[in-house]
Amino acid sequence: MTIWFYGNQDGINTDMLFPGKYTYTCATADEIKPHLLEDLDPNFAQSVQKDDLIFAGKNFGCGSSREQPVLGLKSVGIQAVIAKSFARIFYRAAINQGLLLIESPEAVDAYSPGKPVSIDFINGRITVGEDTFGFPTLPEEVTAIREAGGLLEYTRKFLDSRLKNT
């Protein structure tokens, strides 16, 4: 597991995560992957592996509503993004794709290279080295979306149950 640390950088925006010039020509996971984080870290796309973690500063994912950054991070298997804060549309898009985001400025500040990181999703705790921090979990209504595997899966379940009842 690699930890991609951008904790000193605030305002990592959607153009850095996935440049706008590709927005209307790349939609699938395979098309997105080579450009993931292209203008932030050119090494990321070729080296990222399943279960890797990303650390970032404040307002991660600000800017455009394009969802390729979220789709891309989810499809390469990023375990979670831990940031000091997230921009709203990105946060929502992550819920809709089932990508886990952890808002914990303390955890970002506590990290330094080599420190082990573990996450207890159920109880909302992240451990960095010796320190454990709580992070806010999602409201019940929204957790259901993530638990279904994302918004479209959640929507299909809802629509199927409605079809059955009519």
Binding site: G20, C62, I89, L152
Partner: protein, 420 residues
Amino acid sequence: MSGMTFAEKILARKAGKTKVVPGQIVFIYPDHLLTHDNTSAIIGKISKDLEIYGLYNRDLPVIVLDHVIPASSDKTAKGHHSVRKFVQKYGIRNFFDIGRGICHQVVLEEGLALPGQVVVGSDSHTCSYGAVGCFSTGIDRTEAAALLLTGKTWFKVPISIKISLKNRLPATVSAKDFILKLISDIGADGADYKSVEFHGALEALSISDRITIANMGIEMGAKTAVFPVDEVTEEFFRHLNIDKNSYDPIWADEDAVYERCLTYDLSEIVPMVSKPHAVDKGVPVSDVLDLHVDQCFLGTCTNGRVEDFRNAATLLTGKTVHPDTRLLILPASRQVLSEIIHDGTLTALVEAGGVLLPPGCGPCLGAHQGVLAPGERCLSTANRNFKGRMGCPDAEIYLASPETVAASAIYGKITDPRTV
């Protein structure tokens, strides 16, 4: 019991509740769902689902082809083609093909975002409709896809920030300068997840000014950025033949509770320029004077309206664009283009050396038209100056008002429009 903010009131009304509080989750049926070129990717996610469950309501979607128009490649052409087929198959009435304009301008000109309505769109600048007292906000493609099937989505009731304005903007200083100043003061995340309300001396701010301000709400992270409905708003809708009895405005209670209250004296605002690569890096124009610019870009959903071009033409009439720079002109809609053709504004801009682009998003997102070369610098009236935004990560984008861009085009370097 204290009063409610705009966001609390409108979400309560739409959710059928008498009171909601910040943090509460509510389920809402939005009045409209905006999608653009990305409609193609959105319907691609649910092509089978549309066959099984059907479209929720053909009058929910508003579809505007604007981002890469006319198509720049076989891939974007195929995208547009699939959108047109979808529109035809489902009989979607609110469809606007290429050339009608930038989606946000079109939604407003078509009266598809009204006071007291909730509109969502799979574009971050959907917050523009706060200009007319509409709760509007951006969502991702997946959420747009789900909305096409169910018509319903959820919102967390946001906390709110109150911005009170005093006095009027000085001559040659515009709404753009004010919003760049506000964003630079509170930061790119200063309103993250929050609703921003504008109060006070608003009568001197036209709808065009208000759109510029609301449009950039997202650049401080805002969920929505909103103005009350007043005579200026009513006049705007009268022009569109929309009677005031056909909408039901909502505004905050006097005793609503805010996270933060700020006051700005508009008479003290000076021309502002946001430096690369973040919108909140705004400085007075005096800090960056004489910086060479390779490209001047006038237009977009932020500043591509008739007033913007008229203000630019006032400075550019009888002058020529400096040979060391180039000026791009991008009207926000066909209606804007038509109006500036008829009143001679466009003639002045083109005769000065401006290059006219078709009404659409154009160079703003770096996909085509006016892409920058490495090392080049652009002064733009758009809303974002992120690294790589105009197609090249090694170029620089500075943001400013139409007046500052026009003045700078004359000299090929950043110029204070008050000195021209």
